[in-house]
Amino acid sequence: MRLRLEARTETARWLVVATPLLAAALTLASGIVMFAALGYDPAKALTSFFIKPIENVYGLTELAVKATPLLLCALGLAVGFRGGVWNIGAEGQLTMGAVAAGGLALAFHGEEPGWLMPAMVLAGALGGAAWAAIPAFLRARFNTNEILTSLMLTYVAVQFLGYLVHGPWRNPQGFNFPQSRDFGEAAIIPLLMEGTRLHLGVILAGLAVFAAWLLLDRSHLGFQIRVSGSAPRAAAYAGYPVSRIVWAGFLAGGAMAGLAGMMEAAGPIGKLQPLISPGYGFAAIIVAFLGRLNAFGILLASLLVALLYLGGETAQIDLKVPPAVTGVFQGLLLFFLLGSDFLTRYRVKLVRRAAAS
């Protein structure tokens, strides 16, 4: 007897609906067991994970602020992932977007021209795209493994930002601490709601969901990307140029990640400092797959992952749940969700071992 995986030729509709529900139920069940085993009241723990962070308007705005960079990075990555282009370097592209936009903000510090904000948006996207262009070029021209090049360039980008804020861009009034000046008024994204951190970028991120949907599901390029990803040989027969898919994937991924970096620097942080992102570029890889590489799915996935982050904080504050337990719980949820997703596409069969084999 052994287990065999078979690809489903067709996925039943009820299965598509049922599996996420099953995953949620399994997560809740294992969460209850885990929290109870560790001596926490499971009901309280789950409340503080999923309800407490968003029980008031301020919490909801924080959820949106936290989800925005994840959403932007994941949307961009989905373009590449659908076409089989493995950009692992969104974190670095995010950083370079923040550097490009932040450079502009610092250059016009004190002058505060009205065109600064749109220019910074553009600079953020271009900065991220330019950084992504390096692995894109290497892959398209020399067929270099883009997983390695894009990942390695992340570390270069983070060190480059570190160099800037320790050196030339350091705040001259900052007692030599590694931070830039605070951005001027014109370089800070306007707030949507006084007393919160909800900024205009959240709306831009919402628009990006539609743009990504149009590109991925309603455009000819999107079709080419999909075919290249799922059936590379068919794409080759159809004459779709591989390099075009590679460039599209990387430029979209880089631009979106750069935009996310710009929004963090010019949004809640308001300056450049050694740490802009606590790993959004990497978490976005999970978000992209959790959302099944679909624009609206990614929107939901980014909200869920953001909620898990916020929930981890409240669980720590309310119940002293250590961050490691939070990590395990988050891992469980992702495991069940991705696992159930797998079961919609494959079936597990028990087969009797044939005598000859």
Binding site: E62, K66, D182, M193, I276, E313, K320, P323
Partner: protein, 359 residues
Amino acid sequence: MKLRIATALAALAIAAAPLAAPAGAQELKIGFVYVSPIGSAGWTYQHELARQHLEKTFAGKVKTTYVESVPEGADAERVIRRLAQEGNKLVFTTSFGYMDPTIKVAQAFPNAIFEHATGYKTAKNAGNYIIRFEEGRYLAGIVAGKMSKSGKAGYVAAFPIPEVIRGINAFILGMRSVNPNATVSVVWVSSWYDPGKEREAAEALIAQGADVIMQHTDSTAPVQAAEAKGVYAIGYHSDMSKFGPKAHLVASTHNWTGYYQSVVEKVMKGQWKAEQYVGGIKEGMVVMAGWGPMVPDDVKKLVAEKEAAMKAGKLAPFQGPVKAQDGKEVVKAGAVMSAKDIANMSFYVQGVVGALPKK
């Protein structure tokens, strides 16, 4: 229209805030924000010891909460705000990167008190505090100078910012006070906590002839590397002797308990005022601890004398004459470097090998 909705939502947000007000009125709720996991040694661990001390000293009168591993980016503000919202009337934020978020939240919660470690900004309800870390460095340097056979020390350092640079300088000044030919080499690891890199850096320094390893990073890896290679090490932040029983000469440890206790007492009496507090050997915030059995009594005695001199105000790490690497005299004999110059320090003194990373 959009604006009106936004205003309405904002009003709701404000109305919702008091819902989270504390139920038990009498006890003082105190929040702590930590930058790294608590672990069993290091920067955050020392703050955690002080928190536990508060729970014991003020049992029944305080309720403390902490959040560990809070990144210094956009998340810090939300965590600090949530602590304030949960009714914590006193919040300690224990890493430099929390400075601006702390000030921002302090403005939104004028009835709560905030204390930020290692920064330079204050507000009406936000003070800050720091330790004269360099005093412990100077004393550690004396121990290193007495115990080193090669006269060469190795220094595993995080980032070339003034706090780290003045630690290196104070160390070599202390070392040279007992061995005028001593030198120290520095390896930068570009991280506050990276056991792998810290270990590699320590091993590289040992390979270059260093027989005492000093660190300005958070993990115990440099002490463990020294133990494995059979050379000496000096712990930092915490007593790290159990991580290198044969290597650990002593540690320059940081003790926040007294300061935290005094802040809590002042807050309870309603006497708290925002200030910029600096403490060192004299205030009991720097403590030489975890003496190894290999350190002879005369060395301990010498350190005790120097400690007493520091307490009496007769000795400071940056007391003239201090010469920069290029031989230029930066502090004249008989003078002491000003607090501002110490805060901004960005040069090496004589005895440090190699150049400071260029800006």
